[in-house]
């Protein structure tokens, strides 16, 4: 409970901090709309040549794109800024200040930074998703909506775990600043449902960088493709990745000597 409060306090401070820089909102809005435009154009062009892609229809793929933007916004708001700060502080040695605080260090480094304006993407993603759902004219049941929410949460947790593990590398290799770029590159693949990719790539997208679970599985939930088996598998993998990243973080922490030491 006290950890929830910790997160809430950091969130409030972070948001208040960002509210000072209002022009950044417009910059973010501009960038987001630009990439939305590019994404929609690509989507439209593909569908001038075909009616379905790997069994997914036009509106269904629009839903996938909406979830992709939505999840991307969540990552950029909550996960990415924290991990960048963590890696910076390992390099500078200022991580010590976080470690001496009487709270769990992993929780602390995961909630300190919020890039509030990136929430623009969450809103845009939601809007795209709404339009897609309207086009699908599907009746969303309570269970479907619930499954969607759960899948999204599980996907987010998996992505957080992978980010934490990537950032933990900085305990050994100080210059890994652009390691997160790998993730961004791979994440782009999630714009399309992962079932179209060849096996080796799908494996990577499922287990190494769980884009499949973060984007495709929630989309499956909304389009009636999700089997309980997949959702169960997602839950298991989420727990597995969370524990693994927790272990790896603690392992890395033992190797951290601080820059001043």
């Amino acid at each position: 409970m006290s950890y929830l409060r910790l997160w809430w306090v950091h969130l409030r401070v972070g948001v208040m901090n960002e509210l000072q820089y209002r022009v950044n909102f417009f910059v973010q809005l501009f960038n987001s709309l630009l990439s939305l435009g590019v994404g929609l154009a690509g989507w439209a062009i593909v569908f001038t040549y075909t009616e379905t892609l790997g069994g997914w229809g036009r509106a269904e793929l629009l839903a996938v794109m909406g979830i992709h933007i939505l999840m991307g916004g969540l990552i950029n708001t909550f996960i990415d800024p924290n991990m960048i700060r963590l890696m910076q502080e390992v390099r500078l040695g200022t991580l010590d200040y976080a470690l001496v605080k009487p709270k769990d260090a992993q929780v602390l480094v995961s909630v300190r930074q919020t890039d509030f304006w990136q929430m623009v993407d969450v809103l845009i993603g939601l809007s795209v998703l709404m339009v897609a759902l309207l086009q699908l004219k599907s009746q969303l049941g309570l269970w479907q909506t619930l499954a969607f929410g759960v899948a999204l949460l599980l996907g987010g947790l998996m992505i957080y775990s992978v980010f934490l593990m990537l950032a933990t590398w900085s305990f050994w290799f100080v210059r890994v600043g652009n390691i997160l770029q790998i993730f961004r590159g791979i994440y782009e693949a999630g714009r399309w449902p992962v079932d179209i990719y060849p096996d080796w790539l799908r494996f990577g997208l499922t287990f190494l960088a769980p884009v499949a679970f973060a984007v495709t599985v929630p989309a499956q939930a909304l389009t009636g493709r999700l089997t309980p088996l997949t959702l169960g598998g997602a839950a298991l993998l989420a727990i597995g990745l969370l524990s693994l990243s927790r272990w790896f973080w603690n392992f890395g922490l033992r190797h951290y000597t601080g820059a001043s030491a």
């Binding site: 910059v27 062009i45 040549y49 075909t50 210059r175 790998i182 590159g185 782009e188 399309w192």
Partner: protein, 267 residues
């Protein structure tokens, strides 16, 4: 003139040795580079397979050829980042560069060739692997390979010059990267990066022919894949030169005006 050549050669040596330091960064670059075209390739292959193996005039193998050559062209034409010049101007780093007897434009342009040689060295084995995995259909004539190389060099210089000219807006406005963002977005759709230009709707192709994006990316690809008649190739080179002249002119004018303003700000 000889001094300038010496400068380019020295800069080449310095940069080349510095590239070998960062092996990890290179690995990341490779992964990021390979993933993007593989995504497009997979999407179009899926579409092609659902339509009897051909879509928009491209077979599965031709798509593979396009997107594998894409990697080479992308790596060879990539130059300035979205805010390189902007950072230089805003941070004041430019002041130190101005003390040197060479225009910063040349410092940046001269750092290109060594990066390209280095890139070429590591890119070849990767392209070889991708050729085995995706089995492209490609049989260019000798003259096509030669013109491809020429078009590629021109594309690199053209893109660099245009980006440099545009980013000089940072002398006047603080958020010049918004401008570059728009450039990249338009380039993404109209240059042949997302898909071959001939697959765009006709009106978009016509717009794309007039704008510089195609000529700084997709043109060499179309040459290599034998999609253009000799006449079209010649015309393409002419348009490249024309845009290059436009860029050079802009740089000349903006640089002079911008510097006057820059010194005024720096006091």
């Amino acid at each position: 003139m000889k001094g300038m050549l010496d400068f380019y050669i020295t800069q080449f040596k310095i940069e080349l040795s510095s590239h070998f330091q960062y092996r990890f960064a290179l690995l990341i670059r490779i992964i990021v580079l390979v993933i993007e075209p593989v995504i497009y390739l997979v999407v179009w292959t899926t579409v092609a397979e659902a339509h009897g193996g051909i879509v928009g005039g491209y077979t599965r193998g031709e798509f593979a050829a396009y997107y594998i050559a894409w990697m080479l062209v992308r790596q060879m034409t990539v130059s300035l980042g979205p805010s390189d010049v902007e950072d230089l101007i805003r941070s004041g780093e430019l002041s130190a560069m101005l003390l040197r007897p060479v225009n910063p434009f040349h410092i940046f342009l001269a750092s290109g060739p060594s990066a390209k040689v280095f890139t070429f060295l590591w890119l070849m084995p990767i392209l070889a692997i991708l050729v085995i995995v995706f089995r492209p259909t490609l049989s260019p004539a000798l003259w096509e390979i030669a013109t491809f190389a020429a078009a590629l060099v021109m594309a690199y210089i053209l893109r660099f010059v245009l980006l440099w000219a545009m980013q000089m807006a940072a002398f006047w406005i603080t958020r010049a990267s918004a401008l570059t963002g728009m450039y990249f977005a338009a380039e993404f759709l109209l240059s042949g990066r997302l898909l071959p230009i001939s697959m765009l709707p006709l009106w978009a192709q016509q717009i794309g022919n007039v704008l510089p994006f195609r000529w700084s990316f997709g043109f060499p690809l179309d040459v290599l894949l034998g999609r253009l008649t000799p006449l079209e190739v010649g015309l393409g080179f002419l348009i490249q030169v024309a845009w290059l002249l436009v860029g050079a002119f802009l740089i000349k004018v903006l640089w002079r005006a911008g510097l006057r303003r820059y010194s005024a700000v720096g006091g």
